[in-house]
Symmetry: D4
Subunit: 252 residues, 8 copies
């Protein structure tokens, strides 16, 4: 049960349309359910107001399918699965409705939201950064945000980024995705007036050290509104961008 459903239930109680008895029944789930190898956190939806997320990279297809089933059975409308292999996608889609994106390796099981609010912009420095960017973009869409994509706009050809300055300047949250020297975050951060979530990627070689060069650059950004997530963590950036965008979009 996510926060939205809970509030709606309470409204019904307040309005006298649902009895205390029925409401108690529906609220009386354990905050988590232990399914042997994992604890499904049913309270998380209430606590944080968003669908459950499964980090698929270290789980077997069977484990992913089992957890997803349990979550959806708990009443959530959908569950996001990241770092999901095509094999896992096959397994899950045999048991549950699944929308799977092969570039970002993100799957949405259940019934995805159709809502799209505000404006989250996802920008990459190069073409190789696109899979990470798509993880952010698909995540943000699954969480109900409008997403604009600006790809291959690295700072060594500044006009490519400048030609999109309109989008940069009107976003409510921006995800800046770059490997190598990660300079994109600072340039975007200097142009934008909304929070910029920087995602260093492991794209590069030699002294990029698997994304460390970009990570350090982003942490040291001379632009004030830039915060950083882990290397290649497109999901985290999309999630945070959604928190920011939806919060600022709610009342408009």
């Amino acid at each position: 049960m996510d926060e939205h459903s809970m509030r709606m239930l309470l409204e019904e109680v307040a309005a006298g349309r649902v009895t205390v008895e029925d409401a108690a029944l529906r609220l009386r789930m354990e905050p988590f359910e232990d399914i042997g190898f994992a604890k499904v956190d049913h309270h998380r939806g209430i606590r944080q107001g968003v669908p459950e997320v499964i980090f698929g990279a270290t789980k077997t297809p069977e484990q992913i399918a089992a957890i997803a089933e349990r979550i959806l059975a708990g009443g959530d409308g959908s569950v996001i699965i990241t770092r999901m292999s095509p094999e896992a996608a096959d397994e899950v889609s045999g048991r549950l409705p699944l929308r799977y994106d092969a570039v970002s390796r993100v799957g949405i099981a259940g019934k995805p939201t159709e809502e799209r609010v505000g404006k989250v912009t996802v920008i990459t420095a190069g073409t190789s950064d696109i899979p990470v960017a798509e993880e952010a973009a698909v995540t943000a869409e699954a969480l109900g945000n409008n997403v604009v994509r600006i790809y291959d706009a690295g700072v060594s050809g500044l006009h490519r980024l400048l030609s999109h300055s309109e989008d940069v300047m009107t976003s409510r949250a921006i995800v800046a995705v770059a490997g190598m020297e990660g300079a994109l975050a600072s340039v975007v951060g200097g142009m934008a007036s909304c929070p910029v979530i920087a995602v260093p990627t492991s794209v590069g070689y030699g002294a990029s050290f698997g994304g460390v060069a970009a990570l350090l650059a982003m942490l040291n950004s001379c632009a004030s509104g830039v915060s950083v997530v882990n290397i290649d963590n497109g999901f985290g950036a999309g999630y945070i961008a959604s928190l920011v965008n939806r919060s600022s979009s709610r009342a408009r």
Copy 2:
């Protein structure tokens, strides 16, 4: 350069009034000027509502005072000065109205805003993290946010943090400040439903490596809404928290 200007330039070349050398240079510079510069500069003008910020650590008292004077003369109501030594505070306060906070080493020159909207919560793990936390808190206040402080609530005594869970759960942005192992960010991130900006501090010794242990912990946080700024960067965290909180508070 629009079609018209380009044709005019070529006419000049054809007429021998502009040399090939000069024309080539203007054509090389074209995409920067045409697409970007004007917009960037224009946008900058629009953003003037946010106070300017001076990073005081690497400037002399005289330089700080001079820059602050110039900014205020430009019409800004106030200017935030971070990492400001008491000596610099003396110098500036001799020339301009200044409110100086010795713990955070932040000064506000000019006429600070009285506005306070929404709710930003600043949490520290230990008492030694307070100066960095205050940099965040004072910054956020100077930018017009209500700030709640929860200090010395490290995770090795969980009851200290849990007793503040109401504030954690009703904030619109949280700044989590911790040195040593930086676990605070993950615990807070798991409780909150708003963005958490984590600030690693250089508090610790030995294998804390001046804040690296906390930085890495925060980047690897298992909680989804956590992003990270540079070690000891209280200002940056306060600034981002303000962007998030004010954006979500605007229309309510």
Copy 3:
């Protein structure tokens, strides 16, 4: 010959039930035996009071089988083999009685102890940490300890851990296993009153640097009773937990 057997032999001598001659014969082993590629340390059982252990990762199945045979021939009841491949398990089980666990990759050759004393609790942050945790748990069981397992209780969903606080607070030794940001150790360390042996795991990606982030976090733990072993060293943690638990359980 382990310490227990030696003491029993000496008791017999003291009681006059075994002659000096016979005792001398049984004690007259070399402190170690050189079998070409390895020196089997027959004295270790006497010195440290526990079964021999073979680190299987860097040995061929044949080498493992040969060393295990030699140790059991030396009179030890059982030998623990860690990081043992299924192939090595096949090889050894063709020559010796073997109990093999595929998750932890630990094998016990010979006749395992049936004794179970005290209470060692093994906790993991996520499901991906389970193989390392099982290495600790199976080791501790093989050394004669009662083991309680609490898995997938990471700090971003604190209630999952809190619901087990009874076990945490009544253990005589705890093994806390976590990758990513390793915050589990600090939270458990703050709740427990017994020694906590923290095991960083290589679970994670990007700035987890193969377990370094968790390792540093654990070394910097703000909780006082936490000590740390090498990344993924489940065996070491189980071994130390056994030393602590058995020592404190002996006389009760």
Copy 4:
């Protein structure tokens, strides 16, 4: 929140005496309060037998004195203060009874325990490691343990350590303190049958990197019973050694 409380809350909502907003917040906070807080806080009360500890390094003399006074006023018999400067010692001893040790920089305010049980042995590789070793030794004594000191017994002169093998083999917990290459931990770990808590020190120069070389060596120890604490963390090692020794000594 048990079934009863939840029903009562819903009744209040139905009756319009509690708003939906407030009810939603209470349901979000529920698992933390219900499961954890009370137990954690209760358990903390039970543990009051162990003296409180103040980490003095980052506090002013006044802060230390004030905290110590408050703790003793709370009924604890004594409080341990680590990394205490002589200045802080002066300040505190002007206000409270204090036993201060200048080598370890540890102070005991209040009435120290006279109890001494079991046997903790503290060993150093060199003379420069003594201050860290004394922090461990004085801590362990303040917590009621018998402490044996073996100093300057580094492995490049093996006879120095071997001449103390009886103490090594009869301890219930050993603290091994070494900088430079940290080999002491492995050699002691191979001789002892009790847990060895290894403390890397920042003693050394060049490629010792402030204790990193010793830290890594100790984490990679080939001896099984060795766990590690932070660089120069004598207090932590003494504390853990006390947990181990006292637990195993209780019933004898």
Copy 5:
């Protein structure tokens, strides 16, 4: 359109041989063209005066071929493709004229320049450094430079390098390629009077850390004219050497 073509066009305009109308048409391309996954930067040739370059390592054979076609269609005479797999070479050569070098993995699509000016010398320490050196050499040749190769002239056999001192002393730019300890750059830098571009390679093992040892050595070179590019970045070094050599060779 590269700078040379643009200048020629302007000369024609100035001379009245091309009308303003026709020139405007040819200049009226967008500075870049968006082909979905990548933005082809047509303005780069004008801005920097050299052929486009495709970094092949992270692109599929199809992507490489598509981008190359688009660039050549834009009027450039040739395009350099680095880190190109044999598979990509097959794909491209089925669609475009391609000259492919299997050692350096560099391909030149289109009609390579025949021009060769000045003198760029490429030196390696060992035979294993040759692929990186060839990337530099083939790049420099594709950009119109005479290239001298001196391979396997590491400093532990100084006579090998000294026997080539005439070439070292008469070059206009030198590329020094070395792994392991990277000492070559300092020795060459001390002999030469032209800029030395040092390329650390990942050749080595153990404490070479994939080229870090050589990188640090080169950054700390005691010879004044040495600058450094990324590990294994033969292309970058050849490109810079070309900029230097061609600039100094232009007017002679």
Copy 6:
């Protein structure tokens, strides 16, 4: 004797205006002169065609003065002294004509060249980078180059850099000086058509690690013409820029 003087002497010999006898006398210096604590390299001027340079940081004022005297006595017109303390400047100026610049801490002893050719542009990201930039600029001037300075043009305020694009595009060599995230090098490298020598500075805090973040960013620059020198090595960058600019300016 530098290369220029030597060539002039040989011209005189060729022209019969100087006898072989006289020329031999002037050429008959040792390639170096041993003055006890240092070997003055009289051949360097001939080999590399530039004035001698003394790295002042690790030498006493007396040593600097002695070496400078010896070099000037060898016939060189001037000697550059870098990292020179005011004390050393006092000492030297008491014995030799000296022009000393307190910001860059560079001194020129003897008779500085008046020549100024071509165009070297030195750009900084922030004001704190200016001392390093001045070391580059003063060095380049001392070596006979025209120098343009563009300071405080960091990428978070792109308009500051774009307003100087003409200088960027018409330089023959550019020195890009930046600390923190070092993004300046990539942006400048994308705009310029000449070699860019990037100088990371130690400006920054926390995860800038004394310039490492900027260093890595610059090594990973996505712009092709960028090479890198050691952290804070303004002299080296100015020296290389001079080699490039003078070589390309010679014949025009």
Copy 7:
């Protein structure tokens, strides 16, 4: 260039038979040729008694075979090939007499020396270190040294090493090979009175960082006679041990 040659060169210039350009180049190259090259080359001839060595890891079987043939054709009695794959061994043994050792992966082509002088002892901590140790041992034998092997004598079972103290104390050079914590070097260094060459190995996992832990430990050894070579560099250690042993054995 002596006075006479220089005068002759000047005469040629004066006579117009040598251009100023050529004369300037010869004068620039002069100190290298005059002082160094000849001597270095001459000395190299003298050293021909030591067999040549081929580092096989980065060469194809064909390259190895070709180089080995060439060396033997040059008159050397044998050539040592390290890091040689079985495939390369096959290739070479089809063309030349070859003695190949599969454990150390060292091959000796040609006619190996039968000489064996002095005493080099090679010690390992564990069985996994044996391949590196054998590289040292086989190398030392190929260079004419008596070699004693002591394997699996790690310091956690000290009696295994102590039982060989006679060999340790009578060696003329010792190679100590250890991964993990590398403590062996210090213990052996404290027992021996000859030089100890320490070889860190990449044996280990987690915080051994591929041999870095052992490397640092060995560099920080508290024993005075220990020097260190690269991780896994058995060849280098065997070579140095041979230099030491043969030099000290020569005249006895």
Copy 8:
């Protein structure tokens, strides 16, 4: 413990004159005492010919003086004190005959040996490396070796080193001392036929990381006879050079 002693122990147990507890302890300690201790201690006596060494850096002047007095009282002719402050020198020289060298900070207390055998050559790259080099040289002299010094012979001016090739080629041991890029070791290693002990120094700035760049370069040296000691460890290098030189010089 031989058979006889063991039987006697058992007789005592049988007779009730020794408890089981005590017997068990003696059997646990047995391999250490029996095999090792006596021999180690005996051997130490034999080695008394080499002077004792005191590492002065971490000791007070009083401690140094006291230890030196005790050693000399034990019969040693002299004692070497390294890293000795002038204050400590004052203190010691007031109590004992002392020869103190202020550059290397080495003192020799007692009656230094007059013997000088063989030839140890100490070479530095720059003048700043001299203090470390002198520590090696003075140590080697104090241990009875002839020492040749070649200072400021860095590889960027190769002729300075080449002019000393005679000394390089006739030494029995060479100490190569260099900071920055540490290339000296490889060049010297390629010229010499004796062992080269490389000492990285902390001379440098920026990416020299306090000597790490030189350390890594030396560990990766492409010359075969090079081994390495800790950063700035002149003493260790001088000590090892003495072991090598004296051993090879003994019988000639």
